[in-house]
Amino acid sequence: MTHPRQQHQYRLPRAAATPAPAALPPEGLPGLDPAFSRLVEAEEPGAGIRTWHLLDNGPLLASRGIAPVGTILCVHGNPTWSYLWRSLVTQATDAATRGAEAWRVIAVDQLEMGFSERTGTVRPLARRVADLGDLTDALGLAGPVVTFGHDWGGVVSLGWAVDHPDLLAGVLLLNTAVHQPEDAAIPAPLRLALQGGVLGTATVTTPAFLDTTLALAHPPLSAAVKRAYRAPYRGAARRGGIGAFVADIPVGPGSVSTPELDRIASGIRRLGVPALLLWGPTDPIFSDRYLDDLLDRLTDADVHRFEGAGHLVAEDVDYAAAALTWLADRAPVAAVSAPVSAPVTAAVPAAVPVPVESDRSSGHSRPEKDISDAETAPGSGSGAGGDGYQPLWHYLDEFRESDDIALVDMAPGHGAAQLSVTWRELSTRVRRLATGLYQIGVRKGDRVSLLVPPGADLTAVLYACVRIGAVVVVADAGLGLRGLTRAVRGARPDHVIGATPGLLAARALGWPGQKIAAVTLARPLARLLDVSFTLAELESLGAEEELPQEPTAADTAAVLFTSGSTGPAKGVVYTNGQLAAVSRALRAQYGVGPGTGLVAGFAPFALLGPALGARSVTPDMDVTSPKTLTATAVAAAVAAIDASVVFLSPAALTNVVATAGSLSPADWASLAGVRSFLSAGAPVAEPLLAAAARLMPGATAHTPYGMTEGLLMTDITLEGIRAATGDRLRVPLPAATDAVNGIRNPGRPATSDVETTAAPGGVCVGCPTGTTRIRISALDDRGAATGELSEQTGVTGEIVVSAPHVEDHYDRLWLTDRAARRGAITGERWHRTGDVGHLDVDGRLWVEGRLPHVIVTSAGVVTPVGPEQAIERIRSTPRAAVTGDTRGRPAQGHAGVARAAVVGIGPVGTQQLVAVVETTPAARRVRLASSELAAAVRLASTAPIAAVLVVPHLPTDIRHNSKIDRSRLARWAGGILSGGRMTRP
């Protein structure tokens, strides 16, 4: 750290010490109602009366006869003022007036800041904390109080919190920090501002510091809002407080305010009240490392990281609504004042007990394969079903003396031939790595980012981490570098274990955490990459030591990242118990267990081979691009371990089918031995699954429905898909207008009198797996899923799932997590999938699209998949095949449709449908469809189509190569159809 600094304030320009009385803000500042402003006098002991400006809705609430449940005490940072909290004051007042829980909001201008008094004196941190206490004494503030602070106001508010435990009911924070880690430099912008010659000029003489801060908003602030922030700081004499605040930043043990900061930093560990952190990660000053530090001190805090928001998170997002929602949920006042019954959705705690599987209600269909298959598998031991929790490392212990093959890596890298590992070797390696990790300081709860490609190393490292209770962070390389960086930064790993490319990226992009190399690197490279250890070193370190204690089923085991196909990837947190339940569900559904050979070509399931006791093989493929997997590579993998089960992704499956021509007779023979295969990750069309089934004639073809948040929710076989399609085609068309338009009255059965199967269309994804329950939250006439969770058939709504293997919570996304639990049955763990669909009378689930992609026309709600499927049945028509028009002019033919996306444009409630299609042969540029093709699309579609656009290629996500972001596509189509440029989507 730098040398001790003393009394920076003496270096501030003379103007900084100019006294001035408090004043009311000028009228007309955007978003600020002058009615909330008031001046309050408070005595500073031994110094006299100080006058404060504050925003306070207390008098207004009183005039309306509303008694608040408590007070939110807001403290701004430097160089803002109470204007920062205008939205909270307004929203809290509006909510109270509507009859919701009433909160008094007091947002102060700290002395020397905003429109409060310029006293001409210097106010170090301890003085500021005491100032706030003087004010609340003068106000006669009684409990319960929730503090809310931003930037250095966060520290002041926490100081008040530490000093007023009797009044304190909760703590809210926007980006702030209470501790400067010893090993880290203070943020560059502050370092610059603290330079002796710079400080006064940057903060007082000129508005540079102010302007720099105001430029940190995403998106940029409007000129009027910037003017409002500058209003109290016009002229150097008004800006003394800004300079003094910066000068007071403790930068080492000798700083004036260091003891007070240390007191607060340690004091908040004992607050014992609910806390919420609303964080903007794109902050050059208070980066995620400070969030980590705060979470270390406020261990039970809820967090929401607003991806894309920054230092001025209060301007970037609707923090006020988030705060009020949280207050209503957490009801911290309930404990202090009147007992309030907790809302249904309140506060899913960090570790919810796993629901007992046996409480599965009757009426759910059984899985394809009976659980007994797995239970009778040789050597499976006990507890495949029921509530028998088997830790992920169970078979590594059970088979530690076995010389049977545990896993084979077909392409272990560096050009080596295939690598085989026995159970004995794997078990030993995992134990040594686990112990070695513990030796170098990796502890239970530490986050370890794994940047190792699937294969023997990844498997060993993953089980080693999990065994000692470290939390593995697994992000798919398919997210792309930018998505991956965002994911790794957001998850804040304490350690990174990577192969060279991963470590290079970590170095180049400044990813946090201690670095461990999966391979031995030349010393200069290891130094360059900041590598502390290699796996080999860990193994030798761990060879002679004892393993630490096992984590429990309720301990966190992993953070898996979603595909990010629609918005930033989200971290999904699983406990050991929930991950064990994933493997239990796989065993129950597909009979994978000890003795089974498994080709692990689908990332999340691939890692579970050892947990299932199965021998697994990683095929030769480029993991960053699943569509590089060839049929030959699959056949080789099958042959290597005599596999009977094959797990693939849909993208891989497409290429496997496409490359079937190069299979040798021996390859065909290997594939003939496969008993079942599945394509997981996204729904697979029947023709593709059928083509794959022809490669593996002895196998049952499965395609499960699931998501990162719940990996195996339903399952369907190829035969099941055919049966479902047949059912649909046999169904008599329902009541007239509905059938013609394909538009349904939301929330009501699609058919009027008879309950038929699947009239709304969609992709049939089969029946719930053994321990999964599925309910539907019906769509209302605005396309929102507001219905109660229901099992009624034929009703379209959001698909909501519950299973022991559904994730625990979203990582640092409190609001997202809350939304995913909305309407859940109290005491049970339900997850809103964001997919829409319906159940049919046979208990099968049909997926009709994504919730944000639902279209609301003037005639009703339309889900996209039904019309898309109908449009995708259009085959090309040659020129001569249709008759000409009335004047005998020959009509043109039209192309066939390879893939279609149906999107809505225009205002919700009166949207028009647009079909965006890929044709066969593919178009070379974007254009309006010919009248012939448009007519064919309208004829085929189950809902009226306003326009048809032809594109060379529909944009899809990388991981599955199949998910289309229809929201983005809708914005693009809307631009063209309102006369905008004909760009590519």
Binding site: S858, D885, T886, R887, T910, A947, I976, L977, G979, M982
Partner: protein, 335 residues
């Protein structure tokens, strides 16, 4: 529905004739007021001009209701003519009708009274705005609509309806112009032709106006846009009309911005050289054909208790059938 004695002005026009026929079919006692005989079966003709007060005073005697369609509809012409027919004619008719004890007044307007050239994407009818309306026609219709709605009173209830781009067999305005130009190879597509445009098949416009007449007591004081509620890309609409007439659809395109600029220039030139024909392109037309124009029809349908009966594709079939019966090249008639 009550049978009413209804005066329809402008019944010799394309839409006026359809409205009069629809009202006759609905059982009303219909009189048609225009300069030439309307030829509407079952209706009586009262010949006269809306610019002649005496004619108007005679025409409204004994009427329960007026449906006012008469207007100068053109893309160019002497601004004073627009003023005289559209604004002053409406003012006189409103006065005469009120004096004569007419209790219902339906003013047939145009969506262009509320728009300033930007795309319309699913919006409902806004208030008429003469200051922002483009061109003499839209400006004067906007003023007239304001006059009409302003005259809404307990004694005479007024409603304004704004059918958008009315077309169908016998249409001399939209379809015939498009077909004639296409036949002459003078019909370009503006821009990429994907702008979504909602139109109104003539029968639907007529039933909507008839419905508005029925509903005046409940919906007076309001303006309603009327369309088929089936927006289509403009290229497909032109294509559909050309095919129905048996002519080749536009095969070449002009950049939209160029057409707008050119339209302005041509429009200006036509002002100093009033010709027998109207200009081939105006800025208004260029904007109409290169930006989106489609509307939220929920309020219209709910308030008027009306839904369109003829779909766009059925409309094209009927148009084709009408052209098939005409002697080739056909489609032209005097207006």
């Amino acid at each position: 529905m009550t049978a009413l004695r209804v005066l329809v002005t402008g019944a010799s026009g394309f839409l006026g004739r359809a409205v009069a026929a629809e009202l006759v079919a609905a059982g009303h006692d219909v009189s048609c007021f225009q300069r030439r005989p309307s030829g509407v079966a079952g209706a009586r003709d009262l010949l006269g001009s809306v610019t002649t007060e005496v004619d108007l005073k005679h025409a409204v005697v004994g009427m329960d209701a007026v449906v006012h369609l008469a207007a100068k509809v053109s893309l160019a012409g002497d601004p004073r003519d627009f003023e005289a027919v559209n604004v002053e004619g409406t003012r006189s008719l409103l006065g005469a009708a009120a004096d004569a004890g007419v209790s219902r007044f339906v003013f047939v307007s145009s969506p262009s009274v509320a728009h300033a050239g930007a795309s319309i994407v699913g919006s409902d009818a806004g208030p008429a705005d003469p200051a922002r309306a483009r061109g003499d026609y839209a400006r004067t219709k906007a003023r007239a609509e304001l006059l009409a709605l302003d005259a809404d009173s307990p004694l005479m209830r007024v409603v304004a309806v704004r059918p958008h781009l009315v077309w169908g067999p016998g249409d001399t305005q939209l379809v015939a112009r498009i077909v004639d130009r296409a036949r002459a190879g003078r019909l370009p597509l503006l821009g990429h032709g994907a702008a979504l445009i909602d139109t109104t098949y003539v029968d639907n416009a007529a039933t909507a106006i008839s419905a508005a007449l029925d509903r005046v007591p409940d919906v007076h004081g309001n303006a309603y846009v009327i369309t088929n509620g089936e927006p289509r890309p403009v290229a497909e609409l032109l294509d559909g009309m050309c095919r129905a007439a048996g002519v080749r659809p536009p095969a070449w395109s002009v950049p939209a911005a160029l057409a707008r600029a050119g339209g302005s220039a041509i429009e200006a030139a036509w002002r100093v050289r009033p010709g027998v024909d109207e200009p081939p392109m105006t800025r208004f037309l260029a904007e109409q054909l290169s930006t989106a124009h489609w509307f939220d029809q929920r309020r219209t349908r709910a308030d008027l208790h009306w839904t369109p009966r003829v779909t766009l594709d059925e409309g094209f079939r009927r148009l084709a059938a009408a052209y098939a019966q005409l002697p080739a090249p056909g489609g032209r008639e005097s207006g």
